[in-house]
Symmetry: C2
Subunit: 280 residues, 2 copies
């Protein structure tokens, strides 16, 4: 497994792989890897791709009062995980390599970026789109893998890829869960035992909604959402949003159907967690 | 010469050229081609590139009260010019091909975009960056050619290319002038005979400033700019700006040196014209 710290080096490695007719699969991450990341990597490997993983905690996607400084990092552990997973190349740039002095340009998806996660985290998706556009131009992959756990991020990136004509397939991979139902996330490490117990109310509410839709054939979003809110209220957490949306544009909808989802965000004391169920 | 109307077709043509080890030179235009465009094309041909010219009047870079509708167009004449110039491929997309329904994403260069042309034409450079990013992703050239006549556009695009890590060299080509000194521009067609006579005051003022710098060794921007403004005042035109700037960031400077320029914009009745001299 090659570990590359500069754009120049990763470009050379990708160029060589392309010359050997390999297709390039790309998994951009912020490190502190978990089962969710491994599912993305596995998808790329199973697609037969020369698999490139990037690890970069992108300052541009954190707000000034957010957790950029304390975001969990453990590069040595990440590298050992990636070696075991038989990843082909890891791109591990410094902040200066990605944002040298004088950087100004941003990529944004107005409207889509301003809803839900974007409303709570202003500028977040602009930061995400900008770094992803950069990484796409550096790695020039055929395919890029993102988790459905960050559903709005996936939809924003698909919109960007389509709108800016990137010649890249964006593959959405199903959310991986811990045995207790919690969606895998690097931020789960912030939770104390008690907070984690309370955090489970979000996945439990979503699971019950899924049952109501798939077994009881209830598709009325108002009914589903009120039941979900009721469940979340039973626990000591702050509900930020729980809504049924059209997946393409994150508009609130009245009935569950194909290409819709229910997205939720809670705060457990100071820890924000998001989760969703989608019907795609 | 191949004429391609869809992204799919131009991509296939470029792919084939790359397979034959050709380097791709790209000249994005809004058509109504003039000598300035031909200089860009000639540079690409002399660099030995497989030369792709795009013609697309980009609605996104025009303000609501600007000249998008009446912008001069003559595709047949353009094609005959490009054939004579022995261009390899012309990309001629429709509005729907470039901006299908649902398009949201924009690329912008805050700060740089808000000065001079960007202050007078809000949103202009965001429109320019967005279409150029799209065209770069569609054509995937090795080199792209832009004229120094639109100096701020060239600087904004260079910034975008650097910041978003496009693997493309942006080549700036010297302004081409009519025999009377007027900088070549598609918009010159808007000028009546009398307006054209008045319009020449801008290139005349810039020419006198160049003499003062290069022969009289006057580098004090205040002296140069006041002389320029004096000349422009002698004619019945509206001066929008005339300033000495650092080329990298378009900050106003006190002394002319390497990598600076003097940029100017006037209105002759309703016709806006820009011009500049640069020391790069």
């Amino acid at each position: 497994m090659e570990i590359l710290k500069t754009k120049r080096e990763i470009r050379a490695v990708v160029k060589k792989a392309k010359e050997s007719k390999r297709r390039i699969g790309f998994v951009p991450t912020m490190g502190y890897l978990h089962k969710g990341h491994l599912a993305l990597i596995q998808n790329s490997m199973e697609d037969g791709c020369f698999t490139v993983v990037s690890i970069f905690v992108n300052p541009l996607q954190f707000g000034p009062s957010e957790d950029f400084q304390r975001y969990p990092r453990d590069i040595e552990r990440d590298i050992s995980i990636l070696e075991k997973a038989k990843v082909d190349a890891v791109f591990l740039p410094s902040d200066d390599e990605m944002y040298p002095a004088g950087h100004l340009t941003v990529v944004s998806v107005p409207n889509l970026s301003g809803k839900f996660e974007g409303a709570i985290r202003p500028g977040h998706f602009t930061g995400v789109c900008t770094i992803v556009a950069k990484l796409f131009n550096i790695v020039q992959p055929h395919r890029a893998y993102f988790g459905w756990k960050d559903a709005q991020q996936l939809v924003v990136i698909r919109r960007m890829v389509k709108d800016l004509d990137f010649d890249i397939s964006v593959i959405g991979v199903q959310t991986v869960r811990e045995p207790d139902g919690l969606a895998a996330s690097s931020r789960n490490v912030y939770l104390s035992e008690d907070q984690r117990r309370r955090a489970l109310v979000l996945s439990r509410a979503l699971q019950e909604i899924r049952q109501m839709v798939e077994y009881n054939k209830i598709i009325d979003a108002e009914v589903l959402i009120s039941r979900g809110r009721e469940i979340i209220k039973s626990e000591q957490v702050e509900l930020q949003y729980l809504e049924a949306v059209e997946l393409e544009n994150f508009e609130i909808i009245k009935n569950i159907r194909k290409n819709t989802g229910i997205i939720g965000a809670i705060k457990v004391d100071k820890v924000r967690l998001i989760d969703n169920i989608i019907w795609d």
